[in-house]
Structure formats: C-alpha cells, structure tokens
Symmetry: C2
C-alpha cells in the first residue's frame, strides 16, 4: 500500500461535508482503496470477476447434495449468462470470465494421498495469476466445484487446527448422512496432510479452483488491485497465502460472511470483518460481487463529495 | 401486496439455478419486491431519492454540534451535487430531489408547546406526498435538519415509552454537556406530548422534514412503490405511521442500522431487520441509498437467472 496516498486520502476524508466518521466503515474502505491504488481520490471503473471451476475426487465418497456433473453444467450456465454471478457482475458493471481447470480430470481423493501433484497445483495457481486483467481496479474471485466445501473445510482444518466437525457444514445442502461423511473425510485428510507448509496444504487438500483463486489474489497484490473475498471456499483458499506470508491479504477485504458455519471462523483467524451478512451461501463470488456495491458507494462518496471549504458549509464545534 | 405475484415469484425462485435458499435474504427481498410491484419477474429501473430539509426551534437550547444555519448550507450542497447522498444516488442510478420545508421558519421549541401546528404538519405531509414520482419503482427518503436527532428521539420516546436517556445519542457529534441537554429536552417534550395520537406526536415533537418523509412513505404505499428506510430519524418518522395503522410499513425494509444507538431499538419495535450495519450515522438517506445496491442485486438475480430446466442443470438430491 502507498502510504502517501493513504495519508492524502485520510486528510481529504476529514474535509468532506459530513460530521467526522459519519460514513462509518465506508470511510475506512475508501482510504484503504486509495492506498492500494496509489491515488488520494481514486475511481472504481474496471472491476473484474473471475469464476474458477474444478472437480473433486472426494465427491466419490458422497459429500455433496449435487452430482459432480453439475460443475460442468454450471460452467455452461456461466457462459450463457444464466447464473447468479452473471447478474451481479452485470449489475455492478464488472467484466466477468470463467476459467475451467481440467474439469474432465478431477483431483485425487485427499484421504488417500495429495489431491493435486505439485505440478498440477502450480498450473492452477498460474492459470489464476494469468486470468487477472492488469488494468482492472478491483478483483472478485469466485468458484464452482461440486464437493469444494469439503475441500475448503479440510484446508481450514489443516491450517488452523481444531476438530473436523467445527469446519464442516451443509454446503449446497447435504443431508445428515452426508454431513457425517464430510466430517470423516475432513478428519482423515487433515490428519494425513496438516504437517505440510501452507501452499502444500493447498495442493494436498485444495482443488484446482481453490489454487486458481489463490493465484489470482496473489497476482492482484503485485498489480495493486484490491480484492473482495467471497465466502468460505474463497476465504479458505486465500488463507493459505496469509499463512504462508503474513500480510499477504492486506489488499483484500471480506465481502460477506456466509451461512456456511465455518466461514466466520476463518474470517476471525484472518482478522477480517465482513461487509455484509445476508445469509448467502452460493459461492460463485456472489457475496463478494454484491459487496462491490458497498465499495462503489464508499469510493463515490470519498472522491465525489465537496469539502467544507468548497461547499461553504460551517464545520462543527 | 399482490398475493398472486408473490406466489409466482416464490415459485420462480425455487426453479433458479442455485441450491434452495442459497441467496439468503436476497431471495426474500426479491419476492417482497415482486409482491409490491405486482410482477413475478420485476425490474428495478427508476429509483427515487428525496431529501427533506427542515429547521428546529429546539436547537436554541444547544442540542447539536453544528449551528442551525448548516441546514440551509447543506441544502445548497445537495443542489450543487456535493453531498454524500448525491454521490450515492448517482452511483445507483437514482433520480434525486431536495424539498426545503420553510427553512426560514423553524419549528417551535417542543418543550413549551407543539413543534408544529396541525396545519403546518399537514402541509409538510402533503409536500412529502406530492414529492413522490408515481412512476418510481423504489423510494428512499432522507433528511437534513440540524437538531433532528433530538426531535426523532422525542418522537420515539413518546411512541414507545422508556426513559429519554435510552433514546438520545451523539447525533452529528454533540459533546457530553449537549447530550445532557438532549436528554432533558426529550424527557420534557415526551412528558408534555406522549398522550397524543401517533400523528399528533409527529406534529408535536417532529419536524417538517420528519412529516415530509412520513407523507412520502404513505404515498409510496398507495402507489405500490417499495421503500428502503434510512437511519434513526427516518425510521422514527416512519414509526408514527405504523403506530397509527398497523402494517403501514409493510412496503418498507430497513436499509441499515445506524451508529445512533437508539436506531436499533426503533427497528426492533417495528420488527425490521436491517440489511446493512456499517457504522454509518449521516442521515440524508445515505444508508438507505447504499442498500439500493443490495436490492438491485437481489432483483437482478431473481429476474435474470436461468431456471434448472432452461440451463440444463441437474437438481439436488
């Protein structure tokens, strides 16, 4: 982040025609965004949404309410413009792309060995890195991958410890029997791989779409593109970066807290307070895309408002 | 609300390409909006923001951190496009207007008698009623009026009971001495006027901008225009309608909960759960205007997404 731009934005904020701090978190958001963009009065004009899709070997164990072929069906839906994320990206003026990551080749069952080889994980990270438009001024990453709340739960369990039960949830709506399977496989997977380094945990327990999101988030940091994190799966993938290098997510805010129960715990570990809490649990980047509206409003106020001097308004006592 | 449209919207929601309830509160919002607009697949294309301004005799007692002339200065700022609400209205594509209500003639000091005569209050209600564009498909009302958190606190205290201390807050940032004055005048005003009927309480303790907002919200209901409520002052004004006629705010949702401590209590009395909680306390309609983005996203998803059948996506178990 650019300290000069942050300071200039902070100074500007104090002069705007409103009581001090009256815009609450919008003020912090605008100053944070200004710092990453290196401009005291930034604009948000070119947001980008990328949805990564991957398939998971762990689905063979019966961890999801939906069959694995839904991943490829939903990719077709994204391409045709029919999914929730398409509507939200369009509503907030974002360009959107879909990155399919070897859908015909699911990851391996992580209870038996690593989900991905190092080469496979690097390829997915690279695909994420390359999918980022360097001209974008905001990035939202989302995912589609039947079985990936199980993968994310295993990643979080390995990164942060605790019992598997505290990291698993209903995902797309699995029944009680499926929930018990999720708990068992997460427990087994975490036991097998938790001793690894954070990015190796991403390879061993994550999926290609998790690695794709992590690669895109890392690239955004280098390109000074602020990021809005989505739900549990996105945040778990991002957490591998933060565990690898403290501060790696300073360019990211939490767009929302999802209804998937473990999400709030990952956010607490990362020290990120969500902008929205609307009971969403869809993935695709949908919660983060909705939060683009909050950031858009924050930046519009910060960069567009008149100062007390400009408007001839008396300041408070 | 139109039961046929609500039911059709509910049925459509179940067919959209997402797990059931995965969009959380966005689904309820879209169905609620569909009911009020009388369309199973509604659009949101013509939102309207109206800011009402009024002056308050009670300011002579020293209840605000800002001098009373700031009301007219801020009206000039609204007209010049320099305030927060201008930026937010523009960011979400809303038309915006400002209604000045006898700024050169403040209300009377409500500790000594009614703030407004019946005729003055009716004139302000009528101005609000007439300011609504019958072609609008969403309404946000906001306010500007130095001293009006004191007026709103007195209205809330008279409507809902409890001690004055529980209804007063810092407003635009009054100091400890000012806060004690606020508490005293609210206590005196509520004691003097609490026995009146709800709309008489609006006249006796409210201000012209509170009555303007109430008139606009009432007109919106007749015109089937959904409303997003803003912060403490807007919600206190709206509460007089609900206390007068139960269900009078069924066409309204709470856009946010503000940092003014009593707001959450008014919302609880009304049974309204806020969409946003971002520590805002500016008024002007700013919190509600920001929440327009949430509603826009909800309606975009509901009306734009493909169904499972249209997209060829397998449904869950």
């Amino acid at each position: 982040s650019d300290a000069t731009a942050s300071e200039a934005a902070r100074a500007r904020n104090l002069q705007l025609t409103k009581p001090p701090a009256a815009l609450g978190r919008l003020e912090d958001l605008a100053i944070w965004y200004a710092g990453w963009r290196g401009a005291a009065r930034p604009r948000l004009e070119k947001p980008q949404v990328i949805v990564f899709a991957g398939n998971h070997g762990i689905t063979a164990q019966g961890v999801s309410a939906f069959p694995a072929e839904v991943t490829v069906q939903m990719v077709a839906n994204f391409k045709a413009g029919g999914a929730a994320i398409n509507q939200l990206a369009a509503a907030f003026g974002a360009q959107m792309s879909v990155v399919e990551l070897d859908l015909e080749r699911p990851t391996e069952d992580f209870t038996k060995g690593p989900a991905m080889s190092q080469a496979d994980c690097v390829a997915a990270l690279k695909a994420g890195w390359e999918a980022v438009d360097p001209q974008a001024d905001l990035l939202v990453v989302g995912e589609m991958g039947i079985g990936n709340t199980t993968s994310a739960a295993a990643v979080a369990c390995a990164l942060f410890g605790g019992t598997a039960a505290t990291w698993v949830g209903r995902g797309t709506g699995v029944d009680d029997a499926g929930l018990l399977i999720k708990e068992r496989v997460v427990s087994e997977g975490a036991a097998l791989h938790a001793s690894r380094a954070p990015l190796e945990i991403l390879a061993a327990l994550g999926g290609r779409e998790l690695a794709g999101m992590a690669g895109a988030i890392a690239r955004a940091r280098v390109a000074r593109i602020p990021v809005i994190l989505d739900g549990f799966i996105c945040t778990a993938a991002a957490a591998t970066l933060e565990k690898a290098v403290a501060g790696a997510l300073d360019h990211a805010v939490a767009g929302h807290v999802s209804a998937e129960q473990a999400h709030v715990r990952v956010l607490e570990h990362l020290g990120k307070e969500p902008l929205l809490s609307l009971g969403m649990r869809l993935g695709e980047g949908s919660g983060a895309a909705l939060a683009m509206g909050i950031l858009k409003g924050a930046i519009a106020c910060h960069s567009g408002m008149s100062t007390f001097a400009e408007a001839g308004v008396s300041e408070g006592a």
